[in-house]
Amino acid sequence: MDVTGKNKEQKDFPGEIHETAGGGIVLSKLDEVINWARSNSLWPLTFATSCCGIEMMSVASAKYDFSRFGFEVARATPRQADVIIIAGTIVNKMAPVLRRLYDQMADPKYVIAMGACAISGGPFFYNTYSVVKGADHVIPVDVYIPGCPPRPEALLHALITLQGKIKAGLTREQIKENSYLNP
């Protein structure tokens, strides 16, 4: 399935309108409505370790403005956040903290690894004693964005990709859930 959902007809709301005598009736699958709500309401955790955090702030700023997609409700507490954007290097001392933050988040939760450091330990920091070589050694990642640091557009693209992934039912959690239901 196409992750971005391009193969389907682009719609604001899942479901279709059936014209009947007294007006339209909206029919839609519950799953799709749930995914629609979840994908359109990704609240990020205010979490940044280094340089990429500044580009994350740029995305919040007026020029890039991720509030258009409804991402602007950045929560400082992991309990209320939906997506954790790992913006920057994760070092050995930080890894347990990151894990804990992830565990503290309520399901469903998504992870975006932003920048080379979060993907693989960085363009420079691979040869050190303290850097974790990629945040996916610590927590599962849904979307990776390359770059050092990635442009704000890239982060927007990643968030939109994540939306597409949720809508298509292809996030890690959704796949896991389905495999329980249809083994």
Partner: protein, 358 residues
């Protein structure tokens, strides 16, 4: 003239004609309850959307615009997501109180709705001590916040709850005194009487500068009472991460979130009722022509317009002012607002006794 009164009367009569009075009353109870809940949901969605749009305008941005036209379904998506999100209860938490706290906050917000007059003759409960009832119930919300802070077993939450307690208890005083000054003018505690007394002009115009002072104090005090910036000490995102609701997630957090906006609506509605005549159209003395012209605008529009204006004011505060520090907050109340409002009440009383108002 279009009026909501007609609808309520029709329903009332239809029910009484078809059922026994007891059953009719019960049905009305249920209907009112459902209406109140629906109003809650609508208000929550609408006000959150409004807040995000207001913020966007202040911050030279666009705000939500992808989900539905102008992003109006953004908040629906958020609410649905919060409903479906896992509601975590921390291990060390006092589970009973932890679950109870959002409900308390919500119930309190619902209770205050009762005496508010939404339009001409559209009032859930026209209680003769309406204003007193409002003051009494609104101070209960601090219990919910305390519960949340204590039960979370989180030090940030505890600090937030402590701050909130100090804040709400103190700002209650000036809010109460500024409300009293209007009561002095009207001579009645009933919301209905207060609105009717503004038939020939709103109190903010009729009672000269003291009413203006009372209004300013009222707005400051209720901003503090609803824990809104610049008085959002209980939440204080950059200090206490999320204050008293740090440990809350999913639906329980949504209830806090919703209650905040309902509270804003209610205090603004009370402000509009006391100082701007509630649903009373803008009347000026005995200018018959002008007054009649104003009457053509439905009373519900008047009420909503005034309330939304005040809500906008409170949102404007939030997006421009930095937060106060806890001791400055208490200083402001005890050293400035309280003495001023006491003196102001005295002044208002003199005006009322001497009949110097219009």
């Amino acid at each position: 003239m279009f009026s909501l009164e007609g609808i309520t009367t029709v329903i009332h009569e239809w029910l009484n004609n078809h059922f026994s009075p007891t059953l009719a009353l019960l049905t009305e109870f249920i209907l009112v309850g459902l209406a109140a809940i629906a109003l809650f949901a609508l208000l929550g969605l609408g006000l959150v959307w409004m807040e995000r749009k207001v913020a966007a305008v202040m911050q030279i941005r666009l705000g939500p615009n992808r989900v539905g036209p102008k992003g109006i379904f953004q908040t629906s998506a958020d609410t649905l997501k919060l409903l479906l999100k896992e509601g975590l209860v921390p291990d060390g938490a006092d589970k009973f109180l932890f679950n109870l706290a959002p409900l308390v906050v919500m119930i309190v917000a619902m209770l205050i709705l009762a005496p508010i007059a939404f339009a001409k003759n559209l009032q859930i409960w026209d209680i003769n001590i309406g204003v007193l009832y409002l003051s009494a119930i609104s101070s209960l919300s601090v219990i919910g916040i305390f519960m949340a802070g204590w039960a979370s077993n989180n030090k940030y939450s505890l600090l937030g709850a402590m701050r909130s307690g100090a804040q709400i208890v103190s700002y209650e005083l000036s809010a109460g005194l500024s409300v009293l000054s209007i009561v002095v003018m009207t001579g009645s505690l009933s919301i209905r009487d207060i609105i009717l007394s503004q038939q020939n002009g709103w109190w903010i115009f009729k009672a000269h500068i003291p009413a203006l002072i009372a209004f300013v104090i009222f707005i400051i005090a209720v901003t503090a009472e609803t824990n809104r910036a610049p008085f959002d000490m209980a939440e204080a995102e950059s200090e206490l991460t999320a204050g008293f609701h740090t440990e809350y997630s999913g639906m329980r957090f949504a209830l806090f979130f919703l209650a905040e906006y309902i509270n804003i609506f209610i205090v603004c509605a009370v402000g509009a009722t006391l100082f701007f005549g509630g649903w009373m159209p803008l009347h000026i003395g005995h200018w018959q022509g002008f007054n009649q012209f104003m009457d053509y605008i439905p009373s519900s529009i008047w009420f909503l317009g005034k309330t939304l204006g005040l809500i906008f004011l409170i949102m404007w505060f939030r997006w421009t002012f930095p937060r106060l520090r806890i001791d400055q907050l208490l200083n402001l109340e005890w050293k400035y607002l309280l003495p001023i409002s006491m003196f102001n009440l005295l002044l208002m009383t003199i005006i009322a006794i001497m009949g110097w108002h219009f």
